[in-house]
C-alpha cells in the first residue's frame, strides 16, 4: 500500500494538551472532564451566576463569523469578556473571500493585530482545521461551528447540562431525534457522549435525514421513535430546518411531527426521570410538543447559562496550556544548558 503519512493531532500540543479546539474527535476523556470541571468553577453553585475573572487580561480574542449567528457570537463574546480578554468580532461576508489568497490574507492580517485566539464559524466543513493549519504557532483556533462537521463547544455545553442533571454521563442511554445528517452539533454530541462512555447512543429520524453510515459514528439507528425512546435517560431534540422540506427530504412539518415529534405520550416511554434537551430555537409542534418543551423534564433554558461557563472553561484551558507549554520549554532549555555546562 501507500506510504501514507499519519497526520499528528492538530488539536493537541506536544504535551498532549488542547491547543486548538476544533472537534471532539480525537480528544481523551480527561480532556473533556477537565473542561467540565473547569466550567463548574466559573459558576456560583448557589446563584448560578458567572462572575468576571481577570485571567485573560491582555489577551486578544477575535470572533470571525463567516456565517452569521448572533446568538452564538453573543455567548462567545460574553464568555471572552468575563475572562477579561480584549474582544473584536467580525462578520465576514464569504463572497469577499472567495479566492483562497484573500481568505488567508484576511487571517494573517488579523493575526498581525496581535490576536491570541480566533473563534471561527464557517459554512464549510473543515474550515476550522484549515485555519488552525495556517495560523502562527502561538495563535489558537476555536471552532464555533464549521459546515456540517462539528460544533464542539455546543456539544460540551450539552454534556455539562447532562452531567448537572444526571451526575455522570457514564452508562446513560441517550436518544437524539431529528435531522442528524445536517447537524454539526449532533456529530460533536455523539463523539463527546462516546468518549464519556454513555452506554448507548441512538439516533432517531427518517432515513433521508441520517448519514449513510451511522454505525461509523458509533450509534444505533431507529426509524421508529417509540422503539428508540424506550428506557432512555436523555432525549436530545434537533431543530428541523425549513430547507429539508424544500429539498424533498421530508414531506411536511405535520407529517414529521406525527412520526417523530416528542409528545407527552412518547416521553412517557423514556425513563421517568429522563431529561429533554433542545439547542433552540424550538419549533413547537414540529419537533416537540409545547407541553413537553415547557414541562418539568425540559432543561432547555438552563443550557444557555452553562454555555458561557463552558466556553470560558475551554478558552482558559487553551491559554493555560499554552502558558504551561512555554514554561516547560524554557525549563527544558535551561536543563539542556545545564547539561552542556556540566559536560564542559
Amino acid at each position: 500500500m501507500s506510504a501514507r503519512l499519519t497526520a499528528p493531532n492538530l488539536q493537541l500540543n506536544e504535551l498532549g494538551k488542547i491547543k486548538h479546539f476544533l472537534t471532539i474527535e480525537g480528544l481523551k476523556q480527561h480532556h473533556l472532564l477537565e473542561i467540565l470541571d473547569t466550567a463548574e468553577s466559573f459558576i456560583n453553585p448557589k446563584t448560578n451566576e458567572i462572575k468576571k475573572v481577570p485571567i485573560l487580561r491582555g489577551k486578544t480574542i477575535m470572533n470571525l463569523f463567516f456565517e452569521p449567528s448572533t446568538r452564538t457570537r453573543t455567548t462567545f463574546e460574553i464568555a471572552e469578556k468575563r475572562l477579561s480578554a480584549d474582544v473584536a468580532s467580525l462578520d465576514i461576508a464569504t463572497s469577499a473571500t472567495k479566492k483562497g489568497e484573500s481568505l488567508l490574507d484576511t487571517l494573517w492580517n488579523l493575526q498581525a493585530m496581535q490576536a491570541d485566539m480566533f473563534v471561527i464559524r464557517h459554512a464549510e466543513s473543515g474550515a476550522a482545521h484549515f485555519f488552525a493549519e495556517h495560523v502562527a504557532p502561538h495563535v489558537h483556533v476555536m471552532n464555533a461551528g464549521d459546515g456540517q462537521h462539528a460544533h464542539p463547544t455546543q456539544a460540551m455545553l450539552d454534556m455539562f447540562t447532562i452531567r448537572k442533571h444526571k451526575g455522570d454521563i457514564f452508562d446513560l442511554k441517550v436518544a437524539i431525534v431529528g435531522d442528524v445528517l445536517h447537524s454539526r452539533v449532533v456529530r460533536s454530541q455523539i463523539q463527546a457522549l462516546s468518549i464519556l462512555e454513555a452506554r448507548e447512543i441512538r439516533v432517531i429520524g427518517p432515513k433521508t435525514l441520517m448519514p449513510t453510515h451511522p454505525e461509523a459514528m458509533g450509534v444505533h439507528y431507529y426509524d421508529d421513535i417509540e422503539e428508540g425512546l424506550r428506557d432512555v435517560d436523555v432525549i436530545i431534540m434537533v431543530r428541523l430546518q425549513n430547507e429539508r422540506m424544500k429539498s424533498a427530504l421530508i414531506p411536511s412539518e405535520k407529517e414529521f411531527f406525527k412520526l417523530f415529534g416528542l409528545t407527552p405520550k412518547r416521553l412517557a416511554l423514556a425513563k421517568p426521570d429522563a431529561i429533554v434537551m433542545h439547542p433552540g430555537p424550538i419549533n413547537r409542534g414540529v419537533e416537540i410538543d409545547s407541553e413537553v418543551a415547557d414541562g418539568p423534564q425540559s432543561v432547555i433554558l438552563q443550557q444557555v447559562t452553562y454555555g458561557i461557563a463552558v466556553r470560558m472553561a475551554i478558552m482558559s484551558i487553551i491559554m493555560s496550556n499554552a502558558a504551561q507549554l512555554a514554561q516547560h520549554q524554557s525549563e527544558q532549555a535551561a536543563l539542556e544548558l545545564e547539561n552542556e555546562e556540566e559536560e564542559a
Partner: protein
C-alpha cells in the same frame, strides 16, 4: 520535615480574642477565608466569634498574577460570597502571609464584588521579611523566619509542619 510544636487551636483562639478587642467587631463584620487552608482557619475563627452571617469563601486562582506562567490550577473552585460586599466591614483570613501576592489577588477579587467599607487582614502565620508587596496583617497568630518553608494541613486536626531549607536539600 518536622511537626512544629505549635498548638494551632490555641493560636486561633488567641487571634479570636485579639479580634474581639478591635473596633471592627462593633460594626457587624463579615468574614472571608481564602481557599484552601485560609478557609480552615477562618471557619474556626468564625465559630469562635459566632458571627451571624455565613462564612464567605474565595478562590484566588483566577486572580493570580502568574497565569501566563503556570496556567490554571486544576483544583480551582468557584468563590462563594453569599452576601453583598458593598459597604461591609470584612475580616479577610488566610493561613500564611508570605509575599503578599495572594492578598493582592484576594483584594482584587473582593473589589470585583463590591466596595467594602474596610478590610481587616488576619493570618495564622506571618513569614516575616519575604514581602514583595506592601501588605501587613492586622492580626497575626505567630511570626516565623522567612527561610522556613511551611505546610498547613487540615482541616481536622489543623497542623503546621515546617521544613528547614538546609534540611530540605539533604
Amino acid at each position: 520535615m518536622s511537626q512544629l510544636n505549635i498548638d494551632v487551636n490555641a493560636l486561633i483562639e488567641q487571634m479570636g480574642n485579639t479580634l474581639r478587642t478591635m473596633p471592627i467587631m462593633d460594626r457587624s463584620p463579615r468574614m472571608i477565608g481564602i481557599r484552601t487552608a485560609g478557609v480552615w482557619v477562618a471557619q474556626q475563627l468564625h465559630d469562635q466569634l459566632q458571627l451571624p452571617d455565613a462564612l464567605g469563601v474565595i478562590d484566588i486562582n483566577f486572580y493570580r498574577d502568574d497565569f501566563s506562567k503556570v496556567g490554571i490550577n486544576p483544583t480551582v473552585m468557584p468563590s462563594d460570597i453569599p452576601w453583598e460586599i458593598e459597604d461591609q466591614h470584612i475580616i479577610l483570613v488566610d493561613d500564611v502571609l508570605y509575599t503578599g501576592r495572594t492578598i493582592r489577588a484576594a483584594l482584587n477579587e473582593i473589589f470585583d464584588y463590591g466596595r467594602p467599607a474596610s478590610v481587616t487582614l488576619v493570618t495564622l502565620l506571618d513569614r516575616k521579611g519575604c514581602r514583595e508587596l506592601p501588605f501587613q496583617a492586622d492580626v497575626i497568630g505567630m511570626s516565623i523566619e522567612c527561610n522556613k518553608t511551611l505546610k498547613v494541613s487540615g482541616p481536622d486536626p489543623l497542623t503546621v509542619s515546617l521544613t528547614d531549607p538546609e534540611e530540605d536539600s539533604v
